[in-house]
């Protein structure tokens, strides 16, 4: 389980992602042609979807307002997780499949490298290359996923959101070959982050509308996770 609650992180990053932004390090395919087999280490994955109101009335009402907001958000997320579970939604599988397909499409051989990855951070150490026989490890952290609305008015609908960071590390010497962050539908443009515009098909005027159209709500999460995963793959082109 990721120790920090995804909702707290996603909400915090909405406001201050610029401060959290890690350096972007581009992949250079021409100088990394020895990288043919990529090992995807088990991604760190937010344990449940977030449903975030980026601005609310409660924020104007001090500590009491914050407590009310936190309770309401927790209730929304509990309800939404039940909805997602009832539809057999498996975000890890959706993301993993899209990422694997994206890498294979570019000619890489992909292997899964099971590791314990229980923090919303990159791994400190990677398995010895002798054990895995791969050229580079792809370390992915899905910091949060779910839905976000910029505000409470009808002109600020809920749309899917995903925050991912990714790092490619050469297996033989642990040098960093690529590092970047991807934010599908950020609220407030973060620095040093790839931003993906949300698909307008998945727009819900309020939380009741989101809960009232479960098929489309789940599909919106799938689309946003797939698009984010494919973008990670594209970075290794």
């Amino acid at each position: 389980m990721i120790r920090l609650r995804s909702a707290a992180i996603i909400a915090a990053c909405v406001m201050v992602l610029a401060a959290c932004a890690a350096p972007e390090i581009p992949f250079d395919h021409s100088s990394s042609q020895d990288v043919k087999t990529i090992g995807i280490v088990t991604p760190a994955f937010s344990p449940k979807p977030s449903v975030v109101l980026a601005s609310s009335v409660g924020q104007s009402l001090g500590l009491i307002g914050a407590m009310v907001d936190a309770t309401m958000q927790s209730n929304r997320e509990t309800d939404f997780k039940k909805l997602a579970d009832s539809h057999g939604f498996a975000p890890e599988d959706v993301f993993d499949q899209a990422l694997t397909e994206s890498l294979e499409k570019q000619g890489y051989t992909v292997k899964k490298v099971p590791v314990k990855h229980d923090k919303a951070a990159f791994l400190d150490h990677y398995p010895p290359v002798e054990d895995t026989q791969i050229d580079a490890y792809l370390d992915v952290v899905v910091i949060g996923y779910g839905y976000i609305a910029a505000g409470i008015s009808s002109s600020n609908p809920y749309r899917p959101a995903v925050i991912v960071k990714a790092k490619l590390v050469r297996a033989k010497d642990t040098s960093v070959l690529m590092q970047d962050q991807i934010f599908y539908n950020p609220v407030n443009t973060p620095k040093k982050t790839i931003t993906l515009s949300p698909d307008p098909k998945y727009t819900f005027v309020d939380f009741d509308a989101l809960m009232g159209d479960p098929d489309r709500a789940v599909e919106g999460m799938q689309v946003s996770l797939k698009e984010s995963a494919r973008t990670v793959g594209t970075l290794l082109h």
Partner: protein, 202 residues
Amino acid sequence: MALAASACGNDRGPPPITNIAALTCSPRPALAEAKPVPLDSDKAVTVTLDGNASCLEQPGGLRSLYGAFKLPDGSSQPVLVSVTSTPLGAGLFSPHVLMLDERENVVREIARDAFMFHGNKLYVGIRLHPEERYLIVASDPQSVGSQISRITESTSTAGGSAIGGGVIVFYTIHSGSDRESNFTYSHNGTVTVSAEPMPKAN
């Protein structure tokens, strides 16, 4: 005279240029006036490419407007070169990049699809190779003219005070906004190039 496409503007600015058939173009980029890029991210070099910009005609007759930059050399450490295209009015310069050596030969091309959005800007980071001395940012004729729509969300905070019954009350109001921006990929626009030592990963 370059022809401009009609488009719904997001902000004031020149219209997007999508047709440069009437321009006089050269088969090789003119590097004599390439703008030097210091090895300092705080000293980025920005150019605005308009209908008077230099024009490059590549094999096959594809035409581009371009800006030329002289890259820092002699660095003993890896260098990150950043290229950013910023919206100009309703247009967004659709870039691709050519890297040239000191003999002015193209040694590498950074394709259009390597650029990713950072907000409404297009960005690519490039690891500089030792032999690369010049960088050409040229419009990508195959994507020019196509449209892109992007949704961006933001929040804001406003504060104030009110007086009533001899009491001053301070307050803040948090609100959100959604905006849809429509751009036409164009030959003209604003391009920024910077260079810096490759940052350390964390």
